[in-house]
Amino acid sequence: MICTPAVDMIAGVFFNYIFVFDDRKEYICVGMKKDRIHILMFVVVAALVAMFYGFAYPYHFFHREQFSLFLLNGDFVLRYFERSAWLTTIIGEFLTQYYYYIGGAPIILGIALFGIGFMVSKLLSREGFGRWIALAGGIVVMLWEGGRECVGEYPLTSTLSLLAGLSLSFLYPRKIENVWIRLAVGLMLIIAGAWTAGYGAIVLGIYIIISEIRKANYFATIIYFIASIIVAVSVDMKYVWWGIPNMDLENQFAIDTEWSRGIRNVGVDPSIADTKLGEYYDLLSSVNDADKMKRYWDEHLITQTMFMPVDPTGNYHTITAAGELWFEMGDMTMAEHATMLGMIFSPRNMGSRHIKRLAEINIINGDEAAASKYLYMLKQTSVHRQWAIDREVGHRTEVYNRWLEWKRNMLPKNDTLRATVDVQRSMRNLLDSNISNDMARQYLLAYDMQTKDVAGFAEDYIKYGKGLKTRAIDEALLVVMATAPADVKQRLGMVPFSIQIMEDFNEFNQLYSRKNAEKLKEKFGNTYWFYCQFDRQFFKR
């Protein structure tokens, strides 16, 4: 079979033939059965990495999809052309939406990694490296890229840029004798690569440099080196040099993602139970479970992270998570505030999770016009279109309408103004409108206690909390009884305390008056009285 140089490039990649330049100055295609072993190895490695992603590490990818949005709209797509790496970015962000599905990311990444390994191996073979070195090189690059994909917000675009750079390498006319032609074509490929694939052009540059060094063409090598440096500093892409799985972060993504998908009994992995996000979601998922809440109160939930901060100390993950509590509790303005800010500060300033939440917040608030904007956007996506249609007026099911009615009943009835960080005022407003909002009640009293706002606790207990009985609350009430003015005590009325707690309180006060810190800590270190009097760091559960 006689083949032309052009066929060389295409068929060599896809049909697993290599071409040798024989004595008659013609190309001869030679089948390589042993290349099938390489292919099998790459398939196995890609499959193993994909399985790891699918079974042990999926939440990073679900999270990535939540913080991105790809709209099938001309104007939206045209905006990509304003950036470098527009081609890989369009494809990358288009494919990222399919991370929404279970298995979506593993399949997409598995195929990409296979392509990377295969191409690296082919390129190394072309340059005369032995087949086992080529195989090893391919696998190393696959694993390296697989590791980078484990990093939080590492975009698929970057993997595709690597793939694109390797693909472009096959177009380099390494067999043309004329060095100037090779240089011209090579530089054009680098420019085109930088424009369409960003740093993928650097990968191309590296391959060309290797190829030219092997030809001892050092002048061209320097030119390509300079070109690669120019690409490196001019393309607008963040570089992640390497990555490994971060299971702590993965577990945090897991609870956050599961919660956002409507799973309420999220199980918090013990490895992150002490993290802010772990505590936050553990409490959030427990608040409607009486047994779990009893445990929290008994172990003094006042040290728990109750609210995620919506301020410069947070990041877009935690700010987004902050909105979940308010959405659950019924304060849609606070929920919208957190959602909007989470979206604003996210890398792409938009995400499917935020748009869906903003749609539902406005549906609950009865602002159908506002909701329709977000639903219209979601209808321009492949993945969330049906979700949006199901929430349009006229398409809502009976079940959904009942849920809406329940959420609307929780809304505040009276308007109030509060600072964005005034969570107490928000919760009081919710309770004023709906005294049966048990979540608001428990959080409010716990927050009063956590912030040592004893006066606030007293008023809130009188107004909203009577009947809520736990050891911790009784401890706080004793502090109120000991310190509050007479009118507060009168409004508080008779509070039945157990004999044990009364005795404990007396003993605490005696030890405190004797300034016996050690004994206090030993015997009462886990009481609210100790917490009130001393730094939080001494408080133990």
Binding site: T333, M343, I344, T420
Partner: protein, 472 residues
């Protein structure tokens, strides 16, 4: 070609639509300036297979297009020619849509005013993100085309806040602020962009809202200490109020701030200043100070006052043009028409942050007789605010949250010689679906005759390399 290949319907095939064909934007029965870009629109009916549009001037058909899908897009050169022919006249539009096998149609008019509108509009693109910002830009759009350029991008300015861009009435001067470290007022004057610090030792805060007079020498500003707070019901979201606000004037020639106790009264809030057309007066909003505003915002009502400013000195007599206590409500953003006849302001129930007050409407005062009226045809059921005049006093641009209620868009309305407004229409886009998918608000639109004389690269250079000139 394939896309456009739809059989042109005969008139006899087109039945009258039983209900109005929903289009976005709503360009039905509007008045437009003779120099506006094409009014492209999208048919908001997913079942539309094709559309046929005819535009006539009198009995003459001047434009016809039959295409697949629901996006109506008119080529710019054709549109410009149509408008030039139709100046001062009315065009008739007949839109027919194909659903299944049948066609149905609706007709409306577009009146082309002989009055042009200032060619450029500057605005800030920012999420309606309450009290914070992240990525924001100040953009300049040529209203006659779809050309837009970025004047400043905070990604190039250490992500610092930029706000309060204004154009001078002289048509040459303009200004905006970069807040934070190394920031200042970016003043473009006499063909040069420079950075100045308008906060002198005489002032309690930095300059915020402002206006530049027709000579280009003076700028009047308020200094505000601003507190944001969240509402809890009714989608009102954010409220912003001042705990302190006063007025000052910057003399750009002499590099000094001119303050006076009559406009820096600690018992009143003075804000939103603007020069009169002749530059001899300053209009502003004034309210009595209230303690504990967070609980009493409903009691905060601003009136519109005026005070003289001539030869670099504040006057002493304060007049009330519009009294909040007499009329009810609260006035914000008084802006005098360039011909000196009218004063346009927005009115809400209370407070000093009308953008999230749904009830906010545009009102006009006749400066000769003091009569005030709402611009009924321009107003909507959502906030209509942040207005700006065209230099010929015949057009206004303003930000409105009508539609989705969340994202402010720019609307235009014609003002006739008696101060009455035409139905407002939204700024056209090349792809009419752009606004539907946009997650940023068009904030503080400001009309200008000419393009800004600087580039974003120059802004970055001045920001990074220049030290702000301190005003005395």
């Amino acid at each position: 070609m394939l896309v456009a290949c739809v059989r042109v319907p005969q008139d006899s095939e087109i039945s009258k639509a039983l209900s109005a064909i929903p289009i976005y934007p709503d360009y039905k029965d509007v008045m437009v300036p003779v120099n506006i870009a094409p009014l492209n629109f999208v048919i908001m009916d997913e079942g539309v297979d094709a559309h046929d549009i005819e535009i006539s001037l009198g009995n003459e058909l001047i434009y016809k297009d039959t295409s697949r899908g629901g996006v109506v897009s008119i080529e710019q050169c054709q549109w410009k020619e149509m408008l030039n022919r139709a100046a001062g006249k009315q065009m008739s539009v007949r839109l027919a849509i194909k659903k299944g096998d049948s066609w149905e149609g609706e007709s409306w008019t577009i009146e082309v005013s002989g009055d042009s509108i200032d060619s450029y509009l500057t605005y800030r693109l920012i999420e309606p993100g309450f009290e914070v910002w992240h990525a924001l830009t100040i953009e300049e759009r040529c209203i006659e085309t779809f050309e837009t350029r970025t004047l400043a991008d905070n990604k190039e300015l250490n992500m610092q806040c930029m706000n309060c861009h204004i154009h001078g009435r002289d048509g040459q001067t303009s200004m905006f602020y970069i807040r934070g470290e190394n920031g200042g007022a970016m003043l473009y004057r006499n063909g040069r962009l420079g950075k100045v610090n308008l906060r002198s030792s005489k002032m309690d805060g930095g300059a915020v809202y402002g206006d530049i007079d027709k000579s280009g020498r003076y700028g009047v500003f308020s200094t505000n200490v601003i507190i944001p707070a969240l509402h809890s019901t009714d989608n009102r979201r954010l409220e912003v109020f001042d705990t302190k606000s006063d007025l000052c004037v910057a003399d750009f020639d002499d590099g000094k701030m001119i303050v006076a106790p009559q406009v820096a009264d600690t018992t009143t809030f003075e804000t939103f200043p603007a020069f009169s057309a002749d530059g001899k007066k300053v209009y502003y909003c004034s309210a009595n100070m209230i303690e504990n505003l967070i609980d009493s915002i409903g009691a905060l009502h601003y009136s519109i006052c005026s005070i003289g400013f001539e030869n670099g000195e504040w006057g002493t007599k304060i007049d009330t043009l519009w009294s909040a206590s007499r009329n009810g409500g609260s006035a914000n953003f008084p802006k005098a028409s360039p011909d000196g006849k009218f004063l346009l302001f927005c009115r809400s129930d209370c407070g000093t942050f009308p953008i999230w007050h749904k009830e906010t409407d545009l009102w006009m005062i006749d400066l000769e007789n003091g009569n005030a009226w709402p611009l009924e045809k321009a107003n909507s059921d959502r906030s209509d605010t942040y207005h700006t005049w065209s230099s010929n006093s015949r057009w206004i641009a303003f930000a409105s949250k009508r539609g989705d209620g969340q994202y402010g868009r720019v609307y235009f309305s014609h003002i006739d010689k008696s101060g009455k407004a035409s139905k407002a229409f939204v700024m056209p886009q090349r792809d009419p679906r752009k606004d539907l998918l946009n997650l940023k608000s068009y904030n503080i639109p400001d009309l200008s005759v000419g393009a800004a004389g600087y580039s974003r690269q120059k802004v970055e250079k001045v920001f990074r390399e220049e030290i702000a000139v301190q005003y005395k």
